[in-house]
Symmetry: C2
DNA sequence: TTTTTTGCAAATACTTTGCATAACG
DNA sequence: CGTTATGCAAAGTATTTGCAAAAAA
């Protein structure tokens, strides 16, 4: 299995610079909390939850609050500076067992089917099997659905 | 975009038969609630949430409870008769923006990185773009990690 | 100085659990 | 009849929100 190279100090600094640049570009203020929260996720290789991030950041900033961590993680994900492993929405179920992918709207959470031959998705399967017993392959395309694109254009939402 | 064929009555009946067969094989009782909940998800094309399923089932069985729906959906997913669109765990974040896939354990929720060239994942992208503006591709392999496999073997958990 | 962000506390959503009764096999 | 599943109510997690004070630009 390919091992991830640990992020170097130089690389991390570059990412921090880009983070600040992106904040400024979007008119978001570069606060100590945002910087620490971003640094924590950017340098972690363990896919931390909000609570995990909170625990780490708390060691440096004893007064940071959990809701700031939630708010910041959400905005960092919106800015595409970090990724969500899941979908940020309540669980949904699918009774269609035919192989297919999903488009998931990151604004409204709507799920659309994408039927397509997914045989080539099986290629990394051998890699995956080194982690455990693979029972299901889940291919998701995340982004903004047409309706939410329109809403952002016309409305006050300005992300 | 390829359109899903609506599940025919015959096909649905076959799936219901298989559902009963699977319940019996695992020593689970075939109750009216389980049958209705399975039928609802199996014949839906809208990726319903637990609440959605509850609302539909309630029309036929006015006294069904939401916790039964939750319990049944969980066991149907464990039996692999239906799929979870998400991961059934709290959200986790990833600071590594290099393209890679994830193995996610359906028992403990642990996430493992799978580094692999994902260029061929881009193929269904055109399909996905008909739904909206794709910002991220998420490839998940779900199953049991090695540790949880051991736990099931040795312990009392018998799914 | 003006506007955004934070921390606190409280509220909300979603999901799970204990227990007595009902229902399956 | 013995065991499993259900419904009810209550608890438990995860996440979000309103608001006054603090901090960035």
């Amino acid at each position: 299995m390919t091992t991830a190279t640990l992020t170097s100090t130089k690389e991390l600094q570059q990412r921090l610079d880009f983070f600040e640049q992106e904040c400024r570009r979007r008119g978001l203020r570069v606060t100590e909390q945002r910087r620490e929260i971003f640094k924590t996720v950017a340098s972690s290789h363990s896919h931390p939850s909000a609570e995990d991030v909170f625990a780490v950041v708390r060691e440096k900033m004893s007064n940071v609050s959990l809701d700031t961590v939630y708010r910041t993680l959400a905005s960092l994900a919106d800015m595409e500076l970090i990724l969500r492993v899941g979908t940020a929405y309540k669980e949904r179920f699918d009774g269609d067992l035919r192989p297919h992918a999903h488009f998931i709207c990151s604004d409204c959470g709507e799920v659309y089917d994408i039927f397509y031959n997914l045989d080539h998705m099986m290629l990394p399967l051998q890699e995956a099997f080194s982690c455990g017993d693979v029972r299901q392959i889940n291919l998701q395309y995340k982004g903004l659905c047409k309706q939410c694109q329109e809403k952002r254009k016309s409305g006050t939402v300005s992300f």
